[in-house]
Structures are given as structure tokens and as C-alpha cells.
């Protein structure tokens, strides 16, 4: 039996008979056509909704119903995140406005602290902080101002996410910038290329006149 199934049955079993619990769960799984072995966040929500109907039908008394529902939530979501709705896959997020040049230092220091808290090695901390520094500098240099959002990624694949966005002039020829030959006036033409090398994932969305959004992730393992 799969662990979620087991936890749900034992939670429901405290408020209704075992056979009833089994049929409520079975019906919910059938209705939602979910695979309990791999539940997404939205899948979990749908499963909770579906089972809740059975709980309201079969558990007597509002107080007991509420107790049962919170036990159910805990069984599916795990002991923590039951109540607080979360942005998908993200635990905490810090937004650093990048407006003046000194914000580059603030952004990278904040990022480094976050990485340390998340358990990144010193080398990993420096790599992420360096990537943040490059992205923040690009914002100041080309767009004037923007924001950097730093977030920790959820437990299934722990890591850190950087989203650097601005509504500046955008990058007209991304391939050229990311190709080998580009040399900017200020750095070594290595800013964005460097970010791609330092991080595990890097997605750059930009077009001329429409701003730039860079999303970069680095995982703990």
C-alpha cells in the first residue's frame, strides 16, 4: 500500500469505519482519476476536495468533521503545509528591488544568505551569489531598474531559484549575446553566459522593447 493511501485511511479510520474509509478513498480516486503514487500539488488539492465530500456525508457533527478534515489534510499534504496555501513548488521568496547600483551588493548578499540557510556548500553559495550579481548588474546597466526574486524550491528537489526581471529595452539578438563572440562594453561579455554556466537551469525570455526575464535555478544535489 502506498504511503499516502495508508495515511489517509488511518486518518479517516479514526472518524468512520475502516470499510467506509476505504470506499470513500476508493471513490475519490476513481472520480479524480488520480495516481496516488505521483500526486502534483493540484492533484492533492483535488483529492482532498473529493474525500471531503465523503467526510461531510459520513462524519457526524461539525466539530468532528473539521477534525477529520484537518487530519485528512495532514495525511495528504504532510504535517506542515496543510493550512497555508503555497505558490507551487516554492517555499519562501524574497524580492529585492534593483534600482541603484548598490542593490547589486544587497541582492547577492541576500542570495548568499538564503543559499547558506538552504544548506548549499560554500562553493555553491559563491556560484549562486555570482550569478545574482551578474543578473543584477545587467538590470542596472541595460534596463535601469527591475527586481530580483529569490526563492527556495520545494523539498522534492531542494534548491534555489532566481528570477531577474525588468522592463528595459530587452535583448534584440539573444543568440548573439549567448554565442561566443559577443563582448560588452562593461564586463567581459560573459554576464549571461556565465549565469548559464554557474546555474543548473537557466531560461531567458526577452525580445526587443519588451523587457527581459531570466529564471535560473540551482539544485542542492
Amino acid at each position: 500500500m502506498n504511503p499516502i493511501e495508508q495515511r489517509v485511511l488511518s486518518a479517516l479510520g479514526r472518524y468512520m469505519s475502516k470499510i467506509l474509509a476505504r470506499s470513500v478513498l476508493g471513490l475519490a480516486v476513481e472520480c479524480t482519476a488520480l495516481d496516488l503514487r505521483m500526486l502534483s500539488t493540484s492533484g492533492k488539492r483535488r483529492l482532498v476536495e473529493e474525500i471531503s465530500r465523503g467526510v461531510r456525508l459520513y462524519v457526524v457533527g461539525e466539530a468532528r468533521q473539521n477534525d477529520c478534515l484537518s487530519a485528512l489534510n495532514e495525511a495528504i499534504e504532510g504535517p506542515r503545509g496543510a493550512a497555508a496555501p503555497q505558490v507551487r513548488g516554492i517555499d519562501t521568496a524574497v524580492t529585492v528591488p534593483v534600482i541603484v547600483e548598490n542593490d547589486i551588493v544587497t541582492a547577492r548578499t541576500t542570495g548568499r544568505d538564503l543559499c547558506r540557510q538552504l544548506g548549499f556548500s560554500p562553493a555553491g553559495q559563491i556560484k549562486v551569489a555570482t550569478a545574482i550579481s551578474e543578473l543584477a548588474r545587467n538590470i542596472i546597466q541595460y534596463a535601469g531598474h527591475g527586481t530580483i526574486v529569490l526563492a527556495s524550491l520545494e523539498a522534492s528537489r531542494p534548491g534555489v531559484e532566481i528570477v531577474a526581471s525588468d522592463d528595459g529595452p530587452g535583448i534584440a539578438d539573444l543568440d548573439h549575446v549567448l554565442g561566443g563572440s559577443y563582448v560588452s562594453k562593461h564586463g567581459m561579455g560573459i554576464g549571461l553566459k556565465g549565469v548559464r554556466k554557474l546555474m543548473d537551469e537557466c531560461d531567458i525570455r526577452s525580445s526587443s522593447g519588451a523587457g527581459t526575464v531570466v529564471t535560473a535555478r540551482k539544485f542542492l544535489t
Partner: protein
């Protein structure tokens, strides 16, 4: 705006020593460039050591700025050695494909001074000694 932090430049005989112990913002880097070239102009210095052991990180801008300082100093007849590059920062630079091309590096301040003494007394040619930073 708060006043820009100025990094002190110490003169020891004919060598200038700059030890960077703060998180470098771009303004501090620009100020440092100016200060160093001024100091070179008004002192009899023949060597320059930039010790980066206290630096938090080096991104492309900072590493380019430090390399530029070394290249400018060389044009002014001053030999430059960069010392104390943190191994983790060195690895990051290599990952990014950045090299401090054209500038001599040393493990720490002491060996930087040794290198300069050797060169200033005539041993070792300038070109042979140049190498990029490696962990």
C-alpha cells in the same frame, strides 16, 4: 547617497599594497582604480600587490576591473601581482570562463611580495611570469 568606501593603499618601500576587505560595489571599484593610478603617479612605486583574500566574490565586472588595474599599472611601469584569490572564487571564475589574463597571481601576500622582489631586482622576465588564475 552615502559616501563611497575608500580602500586604503599602503606604501611599503617601493611596493603599493591594496588589501580588499569589503564587498565591492561598482562605485568602490571605480574609486579604487582612480586612487591606485593617482598613487602610482605620485609615488616612486615599482610594484603593486592587490590582495583579494577578503573579497566576498568576483563577478565578471569586478574581475575585469581588477585585471584592468593591473594592466594600467603595467603601462605605468609598475608590476602587479594579485594575491589571495579564494579557491572557491577561483573555481567560479573558471566555471564562468573568466581568466585574469595578463596579470600575475600569487597564493598569498607573502609570495606576492617575494615575486615582486625577485622581479624588481632583475630576476625573471615579465612575460614568462604571467599566468592566469587557477585554483
Amino acid at each position: 547617497m552615502s559616501e563611497i568606501v575608500r580602500i586604503p593603499i599602503i606604501k611599503l618601500r617601493d611596493v603599493l599594497i591594496v588589501s580588499i576587505q569589503v564587498s565591492l560595489s561598482d562605485a568602490v571599484v571605480v574609486q579604487l582604480k582612480d586612487d591606485i593610478t593617482n598613487k602610482i603617479e605620485h609615488s616612486e612605486a615599482r610594484g603593486l600587490v592587490i590582495d583579494v583574500s577578503g573579497i566576498d566574490l568576483m563577478d565578471s565586472y569586478i574581475s575585469r576591473a581588477i585585471r584592468d588595474i593591473g594592466l594600467v599599472a603595467r603601462l605605468m611601469g609598475v608590476r602587479t601581482v594579485i594575491s589571495g584569490l579564494d579557491p572557491m572564487i577561483a573555481m567560479t571564475l573558471v566555471d564562468m570562463g573568466l581568466e585574469l589574463k595578463g596579470v600575475r597571481t600569487a597564493l598569498d601576500l607573502e609570495s606576492a611580495l617575494d615575486i615582486l622582489r625577485l622581479r624588481l631586482t632583475g630576476g625573471g622576465s615579465d612575460d614568462e611570469a604571467e599566468r592566469s588564475s587557477e585554483p
